[in-house]
């Protein structure tokens, strides 16, 4: 990479762009990096939002009964997605091919557990007394199919396919939904979603970059993974068209999110 114009790296003057590639990968996959990053935005935000003087359930919001009902359904589906990610990421630690991925996935497991917890907590704030039962009743069946398929790939020990399904497809789907939802959500839900999206940036980036490295080392995998992508795209579309009924947000924003997903697949050559 001699044509690359690279600044001299002076360790006394931190500059990420001057790091050598191995040091950069060591840093961003590390537990220490994760810990200092989440400390920056989780401290003083118990359950993903600023704590006020009064209990959250006593704070006024502008939600009508029908808004509240739609929000509960949406949060139930988020809980299914987060449970899939929690189980998926934890199962993937055992099949991850290297120490970077294992350590990173351990941090992702904690992130996903937090996401599940904050969404369950929000359901309780909205008056849901039996969140588990409510999730059972309201969950989108296609999302459940996606979750089963993802866990099958993990169980089969298929690292590249699991990484694609979990850290690229599922994370993209969640990120798109949260981003659109956060623009119209009530303030507490919006704060929770914005905090969750900060974590998703790491998860998505890990998925694309690790898969990208794997595909450049083993280009023969590309056809098979493109087929898995197309199989799962059908489920993703079905989840989105159903979610659109419950999720407010303007169509142009949804289209923009769809474009981001397609750009990711193009960069990876999974077309």
């Amino acid at each position: 990479m001699s044509e690359v114009d690279r600044p001299e790296f002076d360790s006394s003057e931190f500059d990420p762009h001057g790091m050598n590639p191995e040091d950069f990968l060591d840093e961003v996959h590390s537990f220490e990096f994760w810990f200092q990053a989440v400390e920056g935005y989780l401290t003083d935000n118990p359950y993903g939002h600023e704590s006020g003087d009064e209990p959250i359930s006593d704070r006024p919001d502008d939600l009508t009964e029908s808004d509240k009902d739609s929000l509960i359904t949406t949060l139930c589906n988020y809980c299914v997605g987060e449970t899939a990610a929690l189980e998926g990421a934890s199962g993937m630690i055992a099949i991850a091919p290297n120490r970077h991925s294992k350590i990173f996935l351990a941090t992702q497991v904690v992130d996903e557990a937090r996401h599940l917890e904050v969404f369950l907590r929000r359901l309780q704030d909205l008056g849901v007394t039996d969140p588990e039962g409510e999730i059972e009743r309201r969950a989108n069946p296609t999302l459940q199919v996606f979750k089963r398929r993802l866990l099958e790939l993990v169980k089969a020990g298929d690292w590249s396919a699991a990484l694609l399904a979990q850290n690229v497809i599922l994370e993209s789907m969640e990120h798109a939904a949260f981003l659109v939802h956060a623009t119209t959500a009530d303030p507490v839900t919006a704060q929770i979603l914005n905090g969750v999206m900060k974590d998703e940036r790491r998860h998505l980036g890990f998925g694309e970059n690790d898969l990208g490295r794997l595909l450049s080392e083993h280009p023969g995998n590309r056809r098979r993974l493109a087929d898995i992508r197309h199989e799962m795209d059908g489920l993703v579309l079905a989840v989105f068209s159903r979610a659109a009924d419950d999720l407010p947000g303007d169509a142009s924003m949804r289209e923009a999110m769809g474009r981001e997903y397609i750009e990711t697949m193009d960069r990876l050559g999974l077309v």
Binding site: D15, H17, F24, E32, G40, Y41
Partner: protein
Amino acid sequence: MNDPNEQAVLSEVPRQTFELEECGFREVPKKWRKFYRHWEGPGDELGPNEIICPVCKVVIRSKREIRVGDRLYCMPCMSRMIVVLGEDGTLQTDVTY
């Protein structure tokens, strides 16, 4: 910077340098925070030392003016990229896995 020739001429000119300060971006450890900021959308104009990460859409910042061939790292999404000249003459990035 719409003309590729302008880019070539500019490369002879010494680079501008910048003193970076934190802009409220807290998604990386403290020592790296000033190298990134949130992108505020289409009206948010980038400085000559800034470029948008194609993967996570965070603004990546450098201590010096960004030019073709520079290597940049996006810590929030762990992407590595090289700065290239886009077909429209603007600076863009190619993610290098």
